[in-house]
Each structure stands twice: as structure tokens, then as C-alpha cells.
Amino acid sequence: MGYEPQIDHGTPAVASDTAVSLTIDGRSITVPAGTSVMRAASLAGGAIPRLCATDNVAAYGSCRMCLVEVDGVRGTPASCTTLVSEGMVVRTQTPRLEKLRRGVMELYISDHPLDCLTCSANNDCELQDAAAQVGLRDVRYGYDGAHHLDAPLDESNPYFAFDAAKCIVCSRCVRSCDEVQGTLALTVDGRGFASAIGAGQSADDFLSSDCVSCGACVQACPTAALMEKSVIEIGKPERTVVTTCAYCGVGCTFRAEMRGEQLVRMVPWKDGKANHGHSCVKGRFAWGYANHADRITNPMIRERIDEPWRAVSWDEALAFTAARLSAIKAQYGARALGGITSSRCTNEEAYLVQKLVRAGFGSNNVDTCARVCHSPTGYGLRTTFGTSAGTQDFDSVMDADVVLVIGANPTDAHPVFASRLKQRLRGKNGKAGAKLIVIDPRRIDLVRSPHIAAAHHLALQPGTNVAVLTAMAHVIVTEGLVDDAFVRERCDVDAFEDWARFVADPRHSPEVLEAVTRVPAADLRAAARLYATGGNGAIYYGLGVTEHSQGSSTVMAIANLAMATGNVGRRGVGVNPLRGQNNVQGSCDMGSFPHELSGYRHISDGNTRALFEREWGVSLDPDPGLRIPNMLDAAVDGSFRAIYIQGEDILQSDPDTRHVAAGLAAMDCVIVHDLFLNETANYAHVFLPGSTFLEKDGTFTNAERRIQPVRKVMDPANRDGEGRGMADWEVTQALANAMGLGWSYTHPREIMDEIARLTPSFAGVNYARLDAEGSLQWPVNAEHPDGSPIMHEAGFVRGKGLFVVTDYVPTDEKTGPRFPLLLTTGRILSQYNVGAQTRRTANGVWHKEDVLEMHPTDAENRGLADGGWVRLASRKGETTLRLKVTDRVAPGVVYTTFHHPETQANVVTTEFSDWATNCPEYKVTAVQVGASNGPTEWQRDYDAQARTARRIAAEPAE
């Protein structure tokens, strides 16, 4: 027992249909052709000494430690760069090898400080291991050939330190940054012994370089040269638990490396099928929020929101809440109550919240924050294909030939997927890179980054996605590029013909639509031809597609394009929504929408309802309930009066902040269940302290429908005065029981068993299988016993694929003399969503505040300077922030993020939303920008209200 790093086989795994058998030190082993001798030896249970090889990057062959002897081969080849061959006989330990290796080792050690006992890598250092393996006993060269010993320490990165004195110039870090991450921030300067690793230009340190702090180099470093600061502070971990990142929809899995109940570091799990041993700065490093001083760990209540909070026991808080809810239900009826499930919490927790609302409150007023991000994906893909989810696994991108990225910014929002995508765009082993088409109003990083250039960047006018996609369809249909065989065999042909007639109309040509899209027709034609004829075409899209008044139409237009070109149902193609939060997919799957039960079955369906009614022992309301925006409208009208919000901050994340505030203020009982007193909590009567993903068991489902375990590594910190702490699912259960529901789950695995019983697409999912297999991709049932990496392979889930005519209907949000600019919003790498977690970590060094990006021409016209304060106003409200002048955005377009409450970017966003799902139109707001000298009146009022609302009574009442 005790701590072991994850095994490193020295060189990456190779896939091959040909097997090769060889003998290593008398043991025979069979491996795929193309495997290195080093990897084969490791798989056979051996360990050839090595320094420059690690299995995350290609072999390099520079250190000469891994020499072996091969019968019939002269000399001593390096085992990391020598591939196995049939019948090969390898010896890894001979007197000659011993001597050679010791010589190499002596050279390394002569330039390395010998302070092993006080070194942060002590006992977890591959240089020590190699010295031990070769039996180093003496260093004949003395220690004065040293080149690196007095090198300065670079501690500029908040999470890791670079100690050049400990560097052995193996270049693993440089190669990881290149091959794994794709950022190429590091270089090796100089030659031989005088060579040194550097970040960026010579004057740069890690923080000022291009480094995005993914940590791949730290993980690859064999010594203490690149080391997590947490390890330097705490020491070596003692045990590890595999769990899943709680930040984004990529769903990276990690080994949480622990010492007692203290998390020492997160190391991406190499067997994780979503991330293959890679991660971004958030998952690997930004977990400090879990014990941030702002975290509230005690239940709190108050009669009215202008009173200070009163810390109470769990029992008192739950009794207070249950009494209020019951009173409201008695007076106003069940439909006055509702809840919001969280895309940050586990599947089991989301399931329990919707169960509490439907079975306990007795209404269908349950919604989830996917409403404000991917509800159009559910609607659009269900209508066209028959399932509310993406079609591929992430690995599929390695077989794509043309990648179309629309309304997504993967390098910032889905960084680990972006790294895979970049690997494919760069090509490898003689295989040419995939071609890239980007459709986005803004020049995202992917358009041009090291070794990558998009073939086409269609910088459309915000709000014209449907017009651009219709014009692409026009080109594909009128130029005869449709995959007729696919359409005839797999799709509804009548619907196809209607659609083809519609898009072929001359008024949908790129030339005509150029007037609204501002995309040059020739570019658009070329992009459409490339997608239709360039081989496997894969579409990846994000919130820039969904958060529009035509979000659902855009998703369907994307699906139409994929069907017309035959790009569905096999590896390398497909339609892939890049999901925002970690469990957006899961919270939708779990029945979080007001009109459907788990597995996307409509609440009006009597048979489905009967299934749940039997299991739950209640009768269910057959009519759909309110969606989040409708709840707020109904609250203002007085017919909706109580809400239980788990793990969401709707006041900050939802559009039209004033309207959200008015809705919340009108309610009689607002229950916020969260880690922090978030902005919504300013209007709450009950605060139930939440638990982090480190404090609970459960599952998350990522953007590829992959269900992965979340495992508890420490006890919940939300202990009341009586020392009782609860994971979020236990809190929901306790609230249900305070309302007399009599639930008795003892572990989330029992909740998953219930989900599997009631949900056909989850029928084969259980914890024992998840533990054994690491993850499962739904549907998992009799037809797909091993899950479904790729969907619609044999045929569309709905039967025939359905083409839907999507007419371009311009948004009502229009620019005019008062508001001449279009605002669009997005996010950046180091922050996450409303920033509740990331703002409470050292990630602030990369993004201290939201800034407004504006084209130089627009700035000049307004006399605005880079870095100055500006006032951003829409017809809804105004806020102030700093200006960044850049040509990333086109003239007429401005861009900002929404990570900071001080900015309150949603004060300016409007009530407009997607026609089919009410997903808010975040991506288009007509605004004006002018000079300012400080916060607006709204920001000051808001701040004063927030201060009052956050007061906690000094004396515990009692």
C-alpha cells in the first residue's frame, strides 16, 4: 500500500492489428507492432532505466540511459526509440550496459545538487530511481562541471515552481507542452551541458510567457525542477483516489493524491477516456476554493431578506424550510413551488432534486441551468436525430479530415478537448492534419496558433448563424454535393426534398445573404465545399450557437448539414455540442426539464408517468411546469412563491439581472443550497451549505455522454454546531424527509439503481460496472450492452433522420442610433462560469476583471483608450468595465466575459430568448459604449444591497 505514481511505460501505447512476439531477459511477451522495446519491457514487468522518456510524449532518445543489447544487432541501441520485431531477443542488464549507464548517470549527477533529503521530489524522483537502478556509488567527475546549480528559482506561476538547478534538460517538459498541450511555450536554449529550459522569450518567466498553466510539463518532469507548490508545501502524498473534474463538460478524470484528508495534488489519470492523462489549469490546480474562507459551512435562516442571517442547526433549518414550503403549498397550491437542479452537482443529486419537486412539492416546476446554455441542443438534436446529445466520443476527432467549429472557443472553454483537436489539426506520423473551418464573430485563438491556421474563418455578424448555415446548405445542394445514398437510405426523403427546395432558393445564396451575414460569399462557398467534400467532416459547436433567439434552429441547421453530407454515424464525423459545465449533459438526462422525466420522456406520456408513479408512490401532474424565465415572470405575477436552488447562481448567470432580482424578491421562500453566499443568496431565506465534489460520491456525465464516478476523498465540511455534515444528496433527502417523504437512500449507488430501473437508456448502468470499467457512455442497455461511443451507427435513433426547414428570422434585438453596437459574450480559460469557484483561487492572476473588447475603429470614433473605464449600456441597464482595444472583434461588435459579479454583464442582457426553449439570447445585445469614470449607480446600489443581505448575526441565536 501507500503512494505509487501511476505506472509509466516510457513510450505511448500503439494501436496495431499486428502482434509481435519477442523475448526480453528470457521472458517472452507479445505486443502490438510499433511498440518500443522499452514499453514492451515495462509491460513484461521490467523497468529499463530512463530519463528522457515518458509515455505521454513520443520517444526522443537523448539521455542514453535506456540502452539495451539485442542479439544480432551491433552496439547498444536505445530501447525507447527501438521498435520491437518478431523473434527479437533483448537483454536489459549486462556488464557492458551497467558500465555505460553508470557513466551517463555520473555525468548527470555531477551537475545536480545532492540535497535529496530536503528536496520536494524526495522519494518521488526519477533521477533518484535511475541512480538506484544503475547502482551509482561514486561520481568521478566531481561536482564542479556544474552549469545549473545557481540558476534562479521561477515562482511566478501561482501553482508550480521552476527550479532550474534541479533540471536535467531531458526536454520532457518542452515536448509535453508541444505534443500534449499544443501551446509550445517552452524552449531549450543552448547545447549540451550548457543548455537550459526557458519559458517564452529570454526575458519571460512562466507567468509572462504563453504558458496556460495546464501542468503537463510539471507532470512530465522527472525531478523537482518543475514541481507543484502544494507538494513543496505539504510533501509527498500517501494515497490516491480516482475522481472526475467538477469544472467543465470535458470531464477529465484525475487521481486525487491525498495526505490524510488534505488534497496534495490532482494528477490527470492516464486511463481516463476523456482526457488520456491531460488536464487544464482549472481541474489540476484550481481546487483551493474547497476550503476558501468565504465558504459557508453552517445552515442559516432568516424570516425576511432584510434581516441578517442566523446560523442554526441542520434540524432547525430543515424544519423551518419544510414548514414554509408546506404553508405555501397549502395556501397557493403545488404549482406555486419549484426547484432548480445543478449542472455542477452529480447525476444522483440532480435526480433527487427533480424527484423532490415532482413527488414532494407536487409540481413540474423544475428546471436546470442548461436552460440558459444547451436547451436548444436537446430540442434540435432530438427533433432531427432522435436523441438529445452529441453523436461522438472525443477520440473520434482523431479520424476527422475537416473540423467545423461554430460558436465555440475550445482553447478557452474546453481546453483538454482543444489539445486533442490541435493534435489532429497538426497531423502526425506522416498523416496530414485536418482542415479547420471556424465560424465565429471573434477571431478565437484556434484561428491562428502555433502550427495551426484555419482554412476559413467566417467572421459573421452576431445573430446570423442560421443565415450562414442556410447559405452553406444552398451551396451544397445547388452544387450537387449532397450525399444522395446516405440521404435516401437513412433520412426521411420527403422532408429532405422540402428542405433542399427551400435552401436552393436563390434568396438563400451566399451572395444574397452576404448583406446580413457580412461573410464574403466566396469564402462561404469555399468553406461549404470543403466541409462537403473534404472527407470525414465533424462539427463542434458551443454556446455561440445555442444562446440566440434562433438557437434551436441553428442546432437543427447544423444537423441538416451533417445529414446532407453523410457525416453522421461513424468515427471522425458527427455533431458535437461542447457542453459548458461538468454535468450539463447529466442534469438534462436526469429529468431536470419541466416537460420531461429522466431519459427525455415527455411528462404527458401516461405509460412513463405510471412507471414513476408506481416507484414513487405518488400521482404526477401531467402538464409541463415552468421554465426558469417563466418562474421569474410567475413570481412577479404572484403565482409562483417558493424555489429550492441547488448549486446555481441565477442572479448572476441569468439574463436581465433586474428582472431576476424582482422575481426573487417577490417570493416567500428562496432556498439556496451552495458553497458560498452567492449573489442569488442575497434574496434567500434559507441557506443550506453545500459540499464540494471532493466530499461526495456520485457520477457526472460529460459532453460525450460518458458517465464517470466522482469519489469522496474527504468528509463534508458543512458541519453544523452539532458536528453533522452532509453531502448535497443527503441534504436534499433530509429536506424531503422533513416534508414527510420518508426517503432512505444510504448511498448514491442506490439512487443510480433507481435511475437505471426507470430509464431505458441507463438500464445497464450501475456502480459495480462503473468501478470495473472506469466509465460508460449511454445508452447502455440490451441493445448496447457496452455503451455507445458513437451514436446512430446503424440508423438514427428516431428511425429516419429528419431534415427541418430552418428559416432565418432576425432577432428582435436590433442596433439603432441609441445602441449602435452588438455585444456578444464568452468566457476565458482560467475562469469558470460565474467564477464562484475560480475567483476563489489563484487563477485571478490571469483574469482579474471582465474587460470589454472593441475594434480600434470603434474605439477611435468614440475617443476611447485601451485600459480606460467605459460605460456599457443597453435598453435594459448599464455597467462599467475596462476597455481592451483589439482587432479580434470586427467593427460594430464588442465582446466581454461574465465571470465577475462587480461587472454584472447580465445587467445589460435582455429578455429575448430562443423561440423553442427560452434559452436566453446572451450572444446578441444592442449596446452603446462611452467614456466613464467609475461604477454606475446600479453597481453601487447593488453593492449596498448585497452588503446588507450578506450580514450574518454575530451571536448564534439561542
Binding site: 417563466n630 436581465d656 423553442a916
Partner: protein
């Protein structure tokens, strides 16, 4: 809503506009189905109340197509 028309009118009109390409009859029919499938009953009731005062033939036609009473069992 702080300004403009009531939310239910705005939403119903928007759905119909996005389905208008199907032709008027089908658009009205599909809008009514959409509303029945996704709207809470109190929103439907409000739309019914608003229809006569809205002065919109389109809204009146949609409302006439929404089945009344509790959801039909399927």
C-alpha cells in the same frame, strides 16, 4: 416583463414566426402543439386571456388550436 408586450404574447408570436415557413395553417397548428408540449398551464391560460385584447388574428388562431383541459394521455 419590464417593457414591451406580455411575455406570453411575445413568445407565441416568436414561435409562429419561426414556423411561418411551413405555411400559415401548419404554422398555427405546430405553434399550438409546441405551446401545449412546453408551456405551464397558467401560461396557456394567460395567452387565452390575452388573445382577444391583443387584436392579433394569429394569436387568436393559435389559441383556438390549443386543446383545453388537462394534458391528453398519449
Amino acid at each position: 416583463m419590464s417593457e414591451g408586450q406580455p411575455a406570453e404574447l411575445r413568445m407565441a408570436t416568436q414561435i409562429a414566426r419561426n414556423l411561418a415557413v411551413l405555411g400559415e395553417k401548419a404554422a398555427v397548428q405546430r405553434t399550438a402543439e409546441h405551446i401545449k408540449a412546453y408551456w405551464d398551464p397558467r401560461m396557456i391560460a394567460r395567452l387565452r386571456d390575452l388573445a382577444p385584447v391583443s387584436g392579433s388574428d394569429l394569436i387568436a388562431a393559435i389559441v383556438a388550436e390549443i386543446p383545453s383541459g388537462r394534458s391528453h394521455e398519449t
